[in-house]
């Protein structure tokens, strides 16, 4: 710490150059913060306490291939399985084809037992039980379309016509549920039995089963036992933990992680060339000064540390500034777009990863100049050789 003023003096020696380098670090880490914020939506999907206690069973052929309802009784009999619930996808649009609601599901009443993170009033649940066409929607979705309990909501299904041929299904909104984040308040849920009775085809088939398990440790054993039920049956299943399922589900659209890492790789590579060049120049210029420090008795190691500290400090300063900016941007966007924004706040996890990346980049770009400073021969440097 007592050397900090030396590091600082070195950094502020060429203010314009340091400023420009700092700016490029800031920009790189704003980008890092924003991309990580998007990426977090994917990597943290389904990582709730509840999710650890849930398994999801879908058709081995893919999410949209139906399974017979009869499987449910067999699943319920598997040792370790508690409650089982079924639901079906029901993609639809509201009013205009542009208003796609991808999170429309036909569910059973015990859906809310399996998803304790979805908070719903008991009175709303009773109304759900009592209303054939009842629907419960997430608070964020309700806000978006200005829906209130009591509203009649016509949904045009993208998959299922009703008996009689109409694709319009009208639901009565009986309740609104709340969850931790707007992202989890996007579901439109209605009664599976109503759906099964009224649809023109596919009666008796299900898109997904959800199983509650008492011990997350047993997840893989139970999943294997469930999948064994349908082996060689023509409707084989694939059972996995809810968190694994969520990631799978999202990445069927796009492998965002890969894209994020590719972009960040390119950005950080450029950043390292730039910062590395600055550091090399800075140390070359200061060769006589480093020689003086050594003359005074500073060890090779302290000279090495001084230069490394300089580059690490530079990157951490710029990086922290960048992440702060990214956090502010996400905050503002969330204020404006709410749950539509596929971004998580820039939180502890992103900061932690960010700081590790900053330290690594700082060390990497400082390494060569620092080694050069360390190896400097005093007599040569002093005589300008």
């Amino acid at each position: 710490m007592k050397y900090l003023h030396l590091v600082w003096a070195a950094l502020t020696r060429r203010k314009v150059r340091t400023g420009l380098t700092l700016l490029s670090v800031v920009v790189a880490f704003v980008l890092f913060g924003l991309l990580e914020s998007v990426n977090s939506v994917f990597t943290t999907a389904g990582q709730t306490v509840g999710a650890a206690h849930r398994l999801i069973t879908i058709s081995k052929m893919g999410l949209f291939n139906p399974m017979p309802v009869s499987l449910e009784a067999q699943i319920r009999a598997v040792r370790g399985v508690g409650a089982v619930s079924r639901y079906s996808f029901f993609g639809g649009t509201y009013q205009s084809p542009k208003n796609v609601i991808g999170t429309l599901f036909a569910v059973q009443r015990n859906f809310f037992d399996l998803y304790p993170e979805f908070k719903i009033a008991p009175s709303a649940l009773r109304a759900f039980d009592a209303t054939q066409t009842g629907a419960i929607v997430g608070a964020a979705l309700a806000r978006k379309y200005h829906w209130k309990v009591g509203d009649q909501i016509p949904i045009k299904s993208m998959i299922y016509p009703r008996k009689g041929g109409s694709y319009i299904w009208t639901f009565d909104l009986v309740g609104i549920y709340h969850a931790r984040t707007p992202l989890e308040e996007q579901d439109f849920l209605f009664r599976w039995h109503y759906f099964d009775e009224a649809r023109a085809f596919g009666k008796g088939t299900v898109g997904l089963f959800v199983e509650k398990i008492a011990h997350p440790r047993q997840a893989s054993r139970i999943a294997a036992a469930i999948d064994a039920l349908s082996v060689n049956s023509g409707h084989e299943t694939k059972t996995q933990s809810d968190s694994a399922f969520a990631v799978d589900f999202l990445s069927q659209y796009v492998d965002l992680g890969l894209i994020v890492h590719a972009i960040m790789g390119a950005v950080f590579f450029t950043l390292m060339l730039l910062t590395g060049n600055t550091m090399a120049q800075a140390v070359r210029e200061r060769t006589p000064e480093l020689a003086v420090l050594k003359t005074l008795g500073f060890s090779n190691r302290s000279v090495l540390s001084l230069v490394l500290a300089e580059s690490v400090l530079l990157v951490i300063l710029g990086g922290a500034l960048g992440l702060l900016l990214a956090a502010a941007v996400v905050h503002v966007l969330q204020g404006q777009m709410g749950a539509q924004l596929p971004m998580m706040p820039v939180g502890g996890g992103i900061w932690l990863r960010g700081i590790v990346v900053m330290a690594l980049i700082g060390l990497a770009v400082g390494a060569l100049p620092a080694r050069r400073g360390m190896r400097l021969r005093i007599v040569d440097a002093l005589s300008g050789r």
């Binding site: 003096a9 006589p288 000064e289 003359t295 005074l296 008795g297 005093i378 002093l382």
Partner: protein, 230 residues
């Protein structure tokens, strides 16, 4: 009584590619505690080389070199660095202050390597600046000081950790007559009033007159001249 600096048959050879330059040939020299020695000689005669060896900035090719009884020719790089920090103060022709640090901070530099606390470092540095007559310039950066003042700051830095030995390489080489006189008077005062042993390289016979003894180096061998009339 044995000398503070004891040099026996000291040689230094620089190897540049295939070329061998023998800069110092079997030099013998004793410098007693409290002496002020001037080292003169034509350019390229090896003065800086000899001074750097005495100051422990470089190691000899042959021969022995002891300071205060310690064989510094046998020390490794790390040990030599620690030895320099404890025993030698350096003054160079071009002052070699760190341009971004105030005079005070420059003088404090050697103390960073000691166990002294921040407050003690500041106090010792202030005392050293007072001694060279620049207490009022403590917050100035080198660029805001004249050459003579910068050299006095460098001298304060050289003495702040109370070294055994001061080595000065053409300390007045870049100064006008008046500033040079001030710097030389200061060195002389450090020698006489504070008992500092000084080895100073200089071109300038007037500067050498401030020393108690003048040595001439010519093509790598040492010739003692008559006692200076200091």
């Amino acid at each position: 009584m044995s000398a503070l600096v004891e040099i026996r048959s000291l040689s230094k050879v620089y190897q540049r590619g295939r070329q061998r330059i023998e800069v110092l040939h079997h030099i013998n020299l004793d410098v007693a505690q409290g002496e002020f020695v001037a080292l003169m000689g034509p350019s390229g005669s090896g003065k800086t080389t000899l001074l750097n060896l005495i100051g422990g900035l470089d190691s000899p090719t042959e021969g022995t070199l002891a300071v205060a009884g310690e064989r510094i020719d046998q020390l490794g790089q790390g040990a030599l660095a620690r030895w320099r920090a404890a025993h030698v103060g350096f003054v160079f022709q071009f002052y070699n202050l760190l341009p971004m640090l105030s005079a005070q901070r420059n003088v404090e530099l050697p103390l960073l390597l000691t166990k002294l606390k921040g407050a003690e470092r500041r106090r010792n540095a202030s005392v050293a600046l007072q001694l060279v007559g620049l207490a009022d310039r403590a917050t100035h950066k080198p660029g805001e000081l004249s050459g003579g003042q910068q050299q006095r700051v460098a001298i304060a830095r050289a003495i702040v950790s109370d070294p055994t030995l001061l080595v000065c390489d053409e300390p007045t080489g870049d100064l006008d007559r008046q500033s040079a006189e001030e710097v030389l008077d200061l060195l002389q005062q450090l020698n006489r009033a504070h008992g500092k042993t000084i080895v100073m390289v200089t071109h300038d016979p007037k500067a050498a007159e401030h020393a108690g003894r003048i040595l001439h180096l010519d093509k790598g061998t040492l010739v003692e001249s008559e006692q200076a009339a200091a």
